[in-house]
């Protein structure tokens, strides 16, 4: 089973990286580009077989380690 944890800066928190990427895309001539946000994704192989348990575990991992919950929020998908 695989858990995918996506970690993004919370809404309202400055995202210097996303901002710079947005400007670079515009500079490359891409049009219609609005706000860009950059985040992290962590893919974790898990040996368990229960998707619910895997999700709970991954959420705990995110809270404890993967996300800095002071400024970041996260979401977990299990596949």
């Amino acid at each position: 089973m695989k858990a995918v944890v996506t970690v993004m800066l919370k809404a309202g928190v400055l995202d210097p990286q996303g901002k710079a990427i947005g400007q670079a895309l515009a500079g490359l001539g891409f049009s219609g580009v609005g706000e860009v946000r950059a985040g992290k994704v962590i893919e974790i192989e898990l040996t368990g077989t229960d998707p619910e348990a895997a999700k709970t575990q991954a959420e705990e991992m995110a809270r404890k380690l993967l996300a800095n919950t002071v400024i970041e929020s996260f979401r977990v998908e299990v596949a």
């Binding site: 309202g12 400055l14 800095n68 400024i71």
Partner: protein, 725 residues
């Protein structure tokens, strides 16, 4: 605006009942929310220095070489050849506890702006850091984040981080200290100040856009930001060192023209403090139209814009006929540039937003009637004398313990994450000398830079500790051969409403002032950080000192790395002072006794003699004696130069680990000559050993190999941080 302005809200904003009464009197009516916000931040401890101002006045701030003392964004001293050094230290303690990486990073960003806003190109960063008990997982996490944050920001902006200091103590468990210092260089005839002038002149905002960063959470606890209970907005600010780098270059480019009338960074309390202070200092009025403020978020209120602490922003007053030149420069650097207001002759700050007047405050009373407190003080009682102390372990074991302990172990793991060579002018790197030496590009002149404080001394005796911190900074600069010129300070203390804490503050200032006067080492800038305590547990009083000195010829600088075949001479008097020493703490587990006294006259005499010998080219290496005493200093010299030492026999733990002040170890090829000149100058000196080989031979005949010593010295930080995430 949903909330009523009243005394309850004022209290939430941090204003006392008396302060709020004062606001009502000045305004002659109930203030608007934005007005209350302006008063609350301008009258906060941070901006108004209401608890500390009466004491700060006692610090000596003048000398013939001081161009601008406290009162500007940073201090300015004349360093010769038409140049000025501009420097200051600032704290970011609380943010670094909440979010260590961003807290430390934005601390570095903030102090850089205070320096380049005056026209200086930053050439060096330093820091002074205190952390809690290393046994706690949280301490490790904070330490890791702070180090990464300082490196992350400083490395990216391209300013070398050349020095600093780190202490650990459980008193900092819930309240680490992150003090950052920046030093810059400017033409001394082109210093930029913040006093606004020229009625009608445009007020210009440059840098990053404004978001809702850092607006205090408590004041936000209402329905006014949308009905849905969105996730609580973090009060943490995120730094963008890339924008800071652009801002440095754009500002310096603009400063080469004559466009700027006045300029100030937007630091704490952002737009409020910068606009109020610029107008206030210039004795003019200011009108701002917030519709023009570059905004990162939608639907920001006037209150939010005025209180936002978004980073990497500056406020300038420009000559109207130079506005286009300025705009072109900021556009070239892809930074926001917006005219957001103009100066008026009303003596008031008027803020409009969406066609509405959101604030209209008279500036003079906002400044003149700012609260000023003579808070009660209580002296720290003197520590009882230490009395006789038995040595439970002997010299060799104590050396092995001390050289490896968190407060004395190698800081290599830290400085190897800081770019200290960028600029190509770093003559003495971290770990090479008592002060970092940074040369001025294209000249032989160099600056010597250091940060110092021994909080356990200040705790035991605030006055002696305050004097010691200044003396140690002076000594560290002297030990390189440089002439100490001036200091910046960062007064980190606990809750000033407690008389004992306020007493610590007052006494530390007394001690600092005495040392500054005796050593001709005035204070030119500084910062005060109070309320450093968690759950009633105060930090150790920590008046961190940032010292700056000058060397006419960088080639004359000496470090402490030892070469073989030299005699080692100890300068100064050794009584064997164990009170508050690291030996006492690490070997016997006691934090007791009075700290070592500082004899300021002797300090000066010894230091002036040492500097003279170094500048005469007679000294191969020099190290001041501080934490851990003589044997630790010798071991550090041996390790830095990869050269053994045979120490003269005799003496006990008190002699070899005592922390008597005003001492140096000099390495010389001619000890007889040195001893003779010392005697003639009335400076105590004695030969204590000779260099060579690969062993440290202790006074009791015990030996320890450099390899073992190095292993012990280098082990702690990498081991502790191994596996840290």
């Amino acid at each position: 605006m949903a909330r009523d302005v009243n005394q309850a809200l004022a209290r939430e904003f941090g204003l006392s009942a008396g302060e709020y009464r004062n606001v009502l009197e000045i305004m002659g009516r109930t203030p608007s929310l934005t007005e209350l916000g302006v008063f609350s931040v301008m009258w906060s401890e941070h901006c108004s220095y209401k608890s500390s101002r009466v004491w700060l006045k006692q610090l000596p701030t003048k000398a013939p070489w001081v161009i601008h003392g406290p009162g500007e964004n940073a201090g300015v001293v004349d360093i010769g050849e038409g140049l000025a050094a501009i420097f200051k230290m600032e704290s970011h303690n609380h943010p670094s506890f909440i979010e260590p990486y961003q807290g430390a990073a934005t601390g570095v960003g903030g102090i850089l702006r205070d320096v380049f806003t005056m026209g200086a190109r930053p050439i060096a960063n330093l820091n002074a850091l205190r952390f809690g008990d290393p046994k706690l997982a949280r301490t490790r996490r904070i330490f890791d984040g702070v180090v990464r944050g300082i490196g992350g920001y400083g490395n990216c902006v391209g300013v070398p981080t050349v020095g600093g200091e780190i202490d650990f103590h459980p008193a900092y468990n819930g309240n680490p200290l992150v003090n950052a210092m920046t030093v810059g260089i400017a033409d001394k005839t082109k210093i930029f100040l913040s006093a606004a002038a020229g009625i009608g002149n445009p007020v210009v905002y440059v840098g990053s856009k404004t978001g809702r960063d850092g607006i205090h959470g408590a004041t936000m606890a209402s329905a006014e930001f949308g009905a849905d209970s969105e996730e609580k907005r973090p009060t943490v600010q995120v730094g963008d060192p890339f924008v800071e780098k652009l801002l440095i270059e754009a500002c310096l480019e603009l400063m080469a023209t004559d466009a700027i009338v006045a300029i100030q960074d937007m630091g704490a309390a952002g737009l409020t403090s910068s606009s109020v202070e610029m107008a206030g200092k210039g004795g003019v009025g200011i009108e701002l139209n917030l519709d023009h403020v570059p905004q990162r978020e939608t639907d920001m209120t006037a209150y939010e814009m005025m209180l936002s602490e978004s980073q990497e922003r500056m406020l300038m007053v420009l000559r109207p006929d130079r506005q286009d030149i300025a705009r072109a420069i900021f556009e070239k650097w892809e930074l926001d540039f917006a005219v957001i207001g103009h100066l008026t002759d009303t003596g008031r700050i008027v803020i409009t937003h969406n066609g509405q007047v959101e604030a209209d405050i008279p500036l003079a009373p906002l400044a003149d009637q700012a609260p000023l407190y003579h808070r009660p003080t209580e002296e720290t009682p003197p520590q009882p004398p230490l009395g006789p102390v038995a040595d439970p372990v002997g010299l060799g074991a104590a050396l092995r313990t001390l050289i490896a302990c968190p407060d004395l172990c190698s800081r290599r793991w830290v400085w190897e994450q800081y770019d200290y060579t960028i600029g190509g002018q770093t003559v003495m790197r971290p770990g090479a000398a008592d002060a970092a030496i940074v040369k001025l590009d294209g000249r032989s002149r160099a600056l010597a830079l250091t940060t110092d404080c021994t909080p356990r001394y200040v705790q035991a005796d605030p006055e002696a500790g305050g004097a010691q911190a200044v003396a140690e900074a002076w000594r560290n600069i002297t030990a390189t051969g440089a002439l100490p010129l001036a200091i910046t300070d960062n007064m980190n203390f606990a809750n000033p409403e407690k008389p004992r804490i306020m007493g610590q503050f007052a006494a530390a200032i007394r001690g600092m002032a005495a040392a500054c006067i005796a050593l001709d080492f005035p204070v030119v800038s500084g910062n005060v950080s109070l309320y450093n305590e968690t759950e009633g547990k105060p930090i150790l009083p920590t008046p961190a000192i940032g010292g700056l000195g000058v060397l006419e010829d960088a080639a004359q600088a000496v470090g402490y790395a030892l070469a073989p075949g030299l005699d080692l001479v100890l300068i100064g008097t050794t009584q064997g002072w164990l009170g508050q020493s690291l030996w006492l703490r690490e070997v016997t587990g006691r934090e007791a006794g009075p700290p070592p006294p500082v004899d300021l006259a002797a300090e000066r005499r010894h230091g002036d003699f040492v500097r003279g010998e170094i500048l005469a080219g007679r000294i191969a290496a020099c190290h001041d004696l501080a934490d851990g005493g003589a044997l630790i200093a010798l071991a550090e010299m041996a390790l830095a130069g990869d050269t053994g030492i045979t120490v003269e026999p005799g003496g006990d733990a008190a002699i070899w680990f005592g922390e008597d002040q005003g001492r140096y170890i000099l390495a010389t090829a001619d000890s007889a000559g040195l001893l003779g000149r010392a005697a003639a100058a009335g400076v105590p000196a004695q030969r204590i050993g000779a260099s060579g080989g690969a062993l440290l031979t202790l006074p009791d005949g015990d030996t320890i190999s450099l390899a073992e010593l190095r292993r012990l010295h280098e082990a702690f930080l990498p081991g502790w941080m191994d596996g840290a995430s």
